[in-house]
Structure formats: structure tokens, C-alpha cells
Symmetry: C2
Subunit: 325 residues, 2 copies
């Protein structure tokens, strides 16, 4: 990789090349200095897309809803990029996590781009990769960027913290709601959707969710997030969900909350990267300096705090600072 190659790819991506976008996402997925350099170069061109986080328990029909929302958004003339960060997502279908996966009505629509992201080990690389992927779609000019996760782990909650509008999908029956509550998703949802509303108990689940929301602390005068029922597989109620999502963004803009949300997203993202850098600094191969320092800790010759500081200091200087300089 050369800086020239990064610059050329960024230029083609900014010019609207879908091939360049797909290649860039492959870089992001692989991680490392190349991904960081590309991200740094594209970052100034981000900030135009409406980033929507979509999460819910497995079986909530999240992917079907994402597809239905994309279709509804296309009818309004909006382009839609979807990043599915669930490795078991139907988009990947166990095949190569390639460029656009052709699916149903959306297959031949150049206004829709779908990409699955594989996890990168246990060190939280998924969240960083997802954030960088969202940036690439944003920089490439997609209007709506939908980041889809299975919301059961902390990593998935962290991905949601990077969105302007967080949509949490439940299904009739209390189990999923409790799951969402436990994972801290209830608090961060901007729009609640009860999917598969043709099933028994849908209206009760809507009522229960609304009751739970009244128990959360909210700023004075703030509205509770809407709770909407839909059946994405039959395309019933999806238009109202899209309306609520776009309405949330419009409200963020008029209230001035958008700037606060952007600041919160930036902070959450930097925090996540800082923690990953810390984890990487400690998890380096045993052959190098990190291994020697850790051995000193094991032998009680170096206190753990001092070791952590030294590893971090090395990690922050190892890359020579700003990668796009």
C-alpha cells in the first residue's frame, strides 16, 4: 500500500464508484494502517448521510425490515446503503462477504448498496470497522446509511451509539423486550418497532413497551420515542416506520440536538478506538517488548499500572502519529 494508492481509491470512491466503495470496505474489514489511512482521508467528506442503527434480537425480522425500509426510502428517491454487522446475517448467506448481494426487488437497483461485515476477533474491532464502513458510505454520498446488528452484546450496543437514529426491533411476546432492556437498548432507542405484528399479542407488546418507556428518565419536555407495529414481510406499517425515522432526524435538526448527538457520537467513537488501541498494545505477540514488560509484571518487578502506561505510550507512537499527514 502506498499513500498514492489510498488517495486514488478515495478519489474514485468520492466520485461515486461502487467498485471503489466495495474495495474500500474490504480494506476497512481487514483493518490495519491501510484502513486507518483511508478512513482518515475520507473523514472530512462525511457528515451528510442520515445514519440509522437497526437492532433487535435474532428472529425479530430485522433484516426483512431493513429491506422493506430500503424499498420505502427508494420510493421517496433516497439512496440507501446497508451495513450488516451480524456475521450470521442472511445477506452473507455463508458465502464470500462480497460486494452487493443480489436480493429480490433490490437486486438491480443502483440506489441500494448492501454489505455484510465480518467480526475481527474479540477485541471490539467490529465496532470500529462498522463505524469506518458507515463513513465510507456517507462519504460516497448515500443518503441513508443503515447499520444493522443483532443487539445482544455490548459491541452491538456500541455500534448503535454511532447512529443518529436508533431503531430497536421487538416481536410480540415479552422475552425480547426484557432482552433489549438488559442489553441497555431500551434507553438508546429513538424509534421502537414491534415487527411481526400479525402475531398474537402484538398490541400487548406495544402497550408494555410504552409502559416501560414511561419509567425511563427523560429530560423535561422531551417526547417519548414512538412505538410502532409493523409486519415487514408483508410490507404493512413500514411506511410509518420510515416516517418516524425521518421525523426523528428532522426533529434533531430543528431542536439543535443534532449537534449534541454528533458530539456524543464522536466521543463514543474515539473512546472505542482508544480502548481498542489499548487492547492491541497489550495483546501484541510475546516476542516483542510488550511480552518482556508483561513478564516483568508476572515476576513482580514492574507494577501493572506502570506496565499499562508504557505499553500505551509505545502504541501511540508506533504509528508515527496522524496517518493521513
Amino acid at each position: 500500500m502506498t499513500t498514492d494508492e489510498t488517495a486514488a481509491l478515495a478519489d474514485r470512491l468520492l466520485a461515486g464508484s461502487t467498485r471503489a466503495l466495495a474495495r474500500g470496505l474490504t480494506w476497512i474489514e481487514a483493518g490495519g494502517p491501510r484502513a486507518e489511512a483511508l478512513s482518515a482521508r475520507l473523514y472530512p467528506h462525511t457528515g451528510r448521510a442520515h445514519v440509522i442503527g437497526l437492532t433487535g434480537s435474532p428472529g425479530s425480522g430485522k433484516s426483512t425490515l431493513a429491506r422493506a425500509l430500503a424499498t420505502a426510502a427508494r420510493a421517496r428517491g433516497l439512496t440507501v446503503g446497508i451495513v450488516a454487522v451480524d456475521p450470521s446475517s442472511p445477506y452473507s448467506g455463508g458465502a464470500i462477504l462480497g460486494d452487493r448481494i443480489r436480493m429480490n426487488d433490490l437486486a438491480l437497483d443502483p440506489g441500494v448498496f448492501i454489505r455484510s461485515m465480518a467480526t475481527r476477533g474479540a477485541l471490539g474491532g467490529l465496532c470500529r470497522a462498522a463505524a469506518d464502513a458507515v463513513d465510507l458510505l456517507d462519504a460516497a454520498g448515500w443518503n441513508l446509511v443503515l447499520a444493522e446488528t443483532v443487539g445482544v452484546g455490548q459491541d452491538e450496543v456500541d455500534v448503535m451509539r454511532l447512529a443518529h437514529t436508533v431503531v430497536v426491533v421487538s416481536v410480540p411476546g415479552l422475552g425480547d423486550d426484557i432482552q433489549a432492556l438488559k442489553a441497555g437498548l431500551l434507553e438508546i432507542a429513538d424509534v421502537h418497532v414491534v415487527n411481526k405484528a400479525d402475531r398474537e399479542g402484538a398490541s400487548r407488546t406495544v402497550a408494555e413497551l410504552r409502559a416501560m418507556l414511561t419509567l425511563l428518565p427523560v429530560p423535561p419536555g422531551a417526547a417519548l420515542p414512538p412505538v410502532l407495529a409493523c409486519t415487514a414481510a408483508r410490507d404493512e406499517g413500514v411506511e410509518a416506520v420510515l416516517e418516524a425515522i425521518l421525523g426523528h432526524m428532522a426533529a434533531l435538526k430543528t431542536s439543535g440536538d443534532l449537534e449534541r448527538r454528533r458530539a456524543r457520537i464522536a466521543e463514543a467513537r474515539v473512546l472505542k478506538i482508544a480502548q481498542e488501541l489499548a487492547a492491541e498494545a497489550v495483546a501484541r505477540p510475546r516476542s516483542d517488548a510488550a511480552g518482556r514488560l508483561l513478564a516483568e509484571v508476572t515476576r513482580r518487578e514492574l507494577p501493572p499500572h506502570a506496565c499499562a502506561r508504557r505499553l500505551l505510550a509505545e502504541a501511540t507512537t508506533a504509528h508515527g502519529g496522524d496517518p493521513d499527514g
Copy 2:
């Protein structure tokens, strides 16, 4: 705080003063440079205690088991220090988290020391404080140091990773086992205990746990962790649990696995501290340099990766390096 004060407290603690130990733990609980300096000074004197992690779902009778184990260990002439890092622990009883809490038979025994640790916010400070508290008890010469947590969150799992012997407590009924499995505790347990074995279904729970353990990957020739039933409240089966715990340590020593375990503990601990330093670097008050850098990220003037590196670089130099130098 002066370096002299830290040195004096450390000396008294090493000389066996229980008052100095209690005061040191208060420093640790409060955190900051003073806690770090005390930890660094005492760290070379650690490594003699057998550190036992004890965890289980709320209601598993963990605290009762800890007390029963302490009584059994005292009968063998071993001294026991208990650090309860569950803020809702019965040891604290909602009162001041003070020195020794007097309880039943153990109340007047100078060979038992019990201390509750309060959480320090959401940034994972609990784990660091617990590790430092264990060190203080170790340096003060306690034979067994028991770190007790409620094993439902990642933070609690992290505390367990700092122990030589991890004891996971379940109760009859499958729910708790699944909970333990989900939290990643099944994999890290060295001894499984099914407490409240006088309840219906205890033998089935023991059998289910054993069956689950056979599904985990183990090195060739490695023994499965024992699964023991007991009723701590009636002091039934507790002696066998203590025997299994001490037997685990003996096996670590004879197999040479103890050194590997010590290395793993050192690494887990340094990792945790590094991640906390990262979180602290980002979470600093908005008025200072961190806030300005984050604002640049929000305005798309500085890429998130570059911001994370700069915040970490500042965090690692802010304290002037080795705090005990």
C-alpha cells in the same frame, strides 16, 4: 498525600497492621495517584496468597458459602481475607463500607478480614480496585484471598480472571447455569459448586453441569473441573469444596501451570488498566484539551483514530511515568 505518607502506610501494612490495611483499602477504593502509588509500592511484596475468585448469580448463596469456606479454612490454620465487590453484598448492609464487618462466628476472629468494595462508575474501575485490593491483602500476608462478585456482567468476569482458582456457584434449576454459560463463566471455572443442594433437582443440576463441561474444548489429558454439591447454610459439603479449591492450587504448582496462570493474570490485569486509562483519557472534562480535540472530530477536522492516539499519548505522559519511582 506525600511519598513519605505512602511509604509509611505501606510499611505498617507489611508489618501486619489491620488498621493500615483498612486505610489502604480506602485509598484503593477512592482511586487516583495515591492508590496507584500504594499499589506500586506493595506489588513487589505480592505473590504469596492463594487468590480465589467466587462468583454466581444473585441468590446462589455465594456470601454464605464464602463465610463457610472461611470458617473451614480457619480450622486448618489458614488466614482468610474476603473482598466482596458486589455493591449489594450483605457484608455492607447498606452501611458505611468500613473496616471489618462483624458477622456471626467470624466476628472476633483476627484471622479473617472482610471488606466490601463499592463500584467506581461505569468505566471498569471496579476491576482495577478489586485487583489492587487483592494485592493489599496478599502483601499483608493473608493466606487465602477470596474475591467475591455477582457474576452477571463483563466486569465481574474480568475480576474472576485475576484469580488462581475460580469458583462458580450455581443453584438447583437450569436458569442459573444458562446465565453462567452466557456470561462466559462456564469456561473460566476451576471448581463448580451447586449450592442449596437440599433443594429439589440438585443432582440433576450437577449432572447437567457435568454434561455441559464435556462440551467445552480442553487441552488433551486435562481433567474437567470438579462439580460439587453443598449446602453452605447448614455447613454441609463445604469441607469438600475447600479441599477442591486447595487441590486446584496444588495441581497448578505441581504441573507448572501456576506460572502460566500468573502470566495470564498479569496480562489480563494490564489489559484492564490500559483500557481504563484509555476510557479516562477520552472521558475527561470538556474544558480541557480532550474536549477541544473531540470538538475537532465532531467538526470533521480531525479523524477519530488520530484523536484517540493523541488522547492516549497525553494520558500516558500526564502522570510522569512510574508512580513509585
